[in-house]
Chain length 342, copies 4
């Protein structure tokens, strides 16, 4: 099969042939139909420190995807050949405290598809059945491949009750925009999106964000103060992972509000906790991945409701062989979701 392999500890990847893998008794073999590029994939492609410290080569990477089941492991009861599936990328052990109390997505012994085990930038992939989500017949493979990042937005907002609330979301990359769409769908009084890229702010506005702010052009704290007439925001969602953003982001929060942390900072962050969390009596929620399977059920309901159309968040489509152009574009941080049709 065709596959995109990270085989050398330098920038780049190799598009090559590989044998179709053998599945275990608890796995599915799937024919990948669409796979999206995630921030983690960019790290792997660039081979930066984040990647170098985590990844063992060679690796078939890529983990946001949708596929068709072509073979079913013998212990697997609830899937059959021909089923359409999307992949949850956090592979839980199923037995630890977290796995047995509804927190599989933060399993103590978690593996991640395309990071700790082979992924899906390829024609076929092994999907542990515990990570397979049956795709509704009305949801395309392309949209299916984005349910994983869309789910992060769903999960992030599920920590809060946005109806009638002033919501600000830092970051207008795909996850940021998904989060903004979910906040808007959930009845926010208004949603403010913040980024530094004109293309992403334009996309946010196009997708329905009420107010967009370019942090390069305005003083966000001051601007939010004006917009909220000194009230502050009720809910702050941080999705940039930029250490310089956190203090300003949480300065905009009113006393007694909620902070959701999604973006991954590169190392410890200097945070004025006394003024931004303690004196404000803020609630801060760390968010990673998606709750299995609450988030997926909610995400599916939102998509099926007909009240949001996430398809324009996919801004570019490529063949897998054109991976180099795709990754260069992804690195620009100015696009929506980039998809490989496989």
């Amino acid at each position: 099969m065709k596959a995109l392999i990270k085989d050398n500890p330098v920038r780049g990847a190799t598009f090559t042939d590989r044998p179709i893998p053998q599945i275990g008794d608890n796995d599915l073999l799937v024919r990948v139909k669409a796979a999206a590029i995630c921030g983690t994939d960019i790290h792997i492609y660039q081979w930066n420190e984040y990647a170098a410290s985590r990844i063992k080569l060679p690796l078939l990477f890529g983990h946001e995807y949708a596929a068709e089941v072509v073979e079913v492991g013998k212990n697997v009861a609830n899937f059959k050949k021909g089923d359409r599936v999307a992949a949850e990328t956090h592979v839980p052990c199923s037995h630890c405290y977290q796995c047995t109390t509804g927190l599989q997505h933060v399993c103590q012994d978690m593996k991640i598809l395309g990071v700790h085990m082979d992924g899906a930038f390829s024609e076929y992939s092994i999907l542990p059945a515990v990570c397979a989500w049956k795709l509704d017949s009305s949801i395309s493979y392309e949209i299916g491949s984005t349910m994983e990042p869309f789910g992060i937005g769903v999960h992030a907002l599920s920590k809060t009750k946005p109806a009638g609330k002033k919501v600000i979301i830092f970051g207008c990359g795909p996850i940021g925009i998904y989060a903004q769409m979910v906040a808007k769908l959930s009845g926010a009084e208004y949603v403010i999106g913040v980024d530094v890229t004109t293309e992403r702010l334009d996309l946010a506005r196009k997708m329905g964000t009420d107010i967009v702010l370019n942090a390069k052009k305005v003083d966000v704290v001051e601007e939010v103060n004006k917009i909220t007439k000194g009230f502050g925001t009720d809910i702050v969602v941080e999705i940039t992972g930029n250490k310089g953003v956190l203090n300003d982001a949480t300065k905009t929060l009113r006393r007694g509000g909620d902070i959701v942390l999604v973006g991954l900072f590169s190392g410890p962050v200097e945070w004025d906790l006394v003024n931004n969390v303690i004196y404000k009596e803020a609630n801060v929620y760390g968010v990673t991945g998606r709750i299995m399977w609450d988030t997926w059920w909610s995400a599916q309901s939102m998509l099926l409701s007909g009240k949001m159309d996430v398809s324009p968040v996919i801004t570019h489509r490529f063949d897998l062989k054109d991976y180099d152009r795709a990754f260069q574009l992804a690195e620009s941080a100015s696009t929506g979701k980039i998809i490989f049709n496989i």
Copy 2:
């Protein structure tokens, strides 16, 4: 001043002249601008058992209203002449356990405007300052007079998280429709409205309810089973107060769902708790009035968001002198909100 007085223990009321009342040190004297007819007012007008057991005559009734402040009690610090206000009708004692823990609306020693003390179907009214809500300049007196019943809808849904959920609301009177609008604004996958009156179901559909069911024409349990493909509803809101409705309503609920009880039943209800609550592990929330002042802040945010227009829920307007026609219409249970412009 002109005033509508319930002075005899029989059907009807008297439109008459009364002296402008004297306020106490903690009160506001207000010039009533718009007052809406509530179900309780119909009880008082009809003088049914509900009214006869609660009301001492004579009574100036009416309690859903908006007004202009014309005089300020000397202990009142935060209101001034000319302020536009809407009235919270639950008058809390401010000192009991409930009042000091955020539950003023279920104060142990609560009085209700227009029930236990004179109300507002009149040119002037006494409004305890503790019950006055400053009306935003962009909200009209008419809409202001409906913030009290609108608030019940807001409060009812605030017990739940409707985003991505299947919501069914029994009752398409004004509060039912408000609740449906709030559920929809809050991102429900879909909202089902149930009633027995064509006019009300038409109004519900007009206001955005996704699916309406006429309980006289279809078997609601069966129909919901079809709509949800056997899944059941996530959230059931009961606003009819009809004892015959409760078991069917909660039969539609999926296991692990939420039930919100708003409608006032006339006496105890035979409820199959084992099958509809215990085996389902349902959460049931009693709802009365509005949380002071969370609900009002949320209600205001929703109105100001520009994402919902509640004005068409007001279907009829009358002069106070035409009270008789207004009440006859209200009794038909086929209208939206009926307003007196005063």
Copy 3:
């Protein structure tokens, strides 16, 4: 093997020999060590309408038990021969909405051990691996056999926050007493236990309940009014399943309090919802079974904390062949937990 079989649709049971059963690929074969009599077992023994409408004969009944693993199905990864286990009696399908969102215990397609499939009043039993809980080495088989009913008490109180609260629990059978012990452990200001049997009230007092009330001898509503100085209780837990109790029980609740419903009523209940739930804005929580596996983790932590000793709740022990005496005693509703050592 020796086994207690319900084989005829009349009062009683048959103590007999049976072949050791064959397990499936996802099951464990276990050697039962201790099994407790549950209310459901009494129904089956008596063959009342509850039993007759649910049970297909013949049935090996009994479901509260602890055991040693003697054989492991070939798909089962996390158990091995010699493991000590306790049994969760709700057998979930693992695939429905409830099962995939942390609500396995109210699975849409749930089976119950000893009700819908053979149970454990026998030397050996089949335990689906999905229902096996590894017993901590410091917990005896006897205590292990009561973790299932103890878990109901843990789960019931987990709906509330008892610390510093006035808690009343109706019913001083084993589950009632467990619930009272959990409420006390959780820091309740005081716990009131209500029953009609002197023996059970004595046992409740012995196990630490602060105040016990005999509903046959005092007017509970009046007495609670005195005890709480008119304040009412913060938390009401109903475990009697007696239809006559519910209105009085919830009359004791303060406005804004919590009601937990555990007891199974025989048919619909006449409940004054307006005064006991809606005007009070009470929260009502239906409770059945135990959350898998949160409740078990909590139950284990409480037992291991050394801060509660549940062993005296077991008041009687029998050999399985003396089942008749055991059931007669159980029917008296005046004992603690009755155990078969097998």
Copy 4:
């Protein structure tokens, strides 16, 4: 009257005579009976940067106190001469969003007694009626003067559900010990207290903390790992305000646990949010002051329950004239609560 005044911007204070103050219409004049030294008072006494940046001289300081009402402002309805009261030190405006939604303790325009206005190290003090709590007749003035810091412990733990959970609390000063006592009362599996002072660790153990760790003598992260057998803690409460503690403290937390932040750090803190909050999907709760008045009701219930005796946390008592010795002792960070009997 005798009063302790901070009048010069240097270390120390002046014990002197002052006229009894004049109350406003919404105030109470109270005769102070007992007043406790708070960390803030030490800052003021030392005149460090924290104090210098906040305090305007001269100031009558001290704010944790209990007193008898001797005069009642004319707008005050619910207090009378002779009432025994404890003081809430956060003075809310009563009108902002926070004040009208149950968050008076984080009022946007909050004043603090003894910081922004005169306090209570004196024979008489002005207590705004909005901040007066009626002391139960069975609670002494001494204990009453500690309800404010005790309340912080109550409030901190109220963010979590400690029953059956492993709780670790960093800091064994008075608030730390109160928090540990509340965690234990609330049914924690075990409570671990951490400090660097032998006297405080001894006091913690004496008050019932299950395990105490001296961070100067052991590696806390390693030690907790052993104690919890690699599981980690469920709930981390940070009360030291020591920037060096936060990362280690939150390293002990299991995935999916709760962090409560109470201690005030001097400036921004370098926190490894990715590993300690985001990947763990931790919930972080900022805590300041006490909820008005939920926390006070809970604190009172806990004291009245007879299940905790906080009196030994008061380790020293002084006359106000011996303030110098009292403050030197307080600075040692090795005592429990220090009280002035006035």
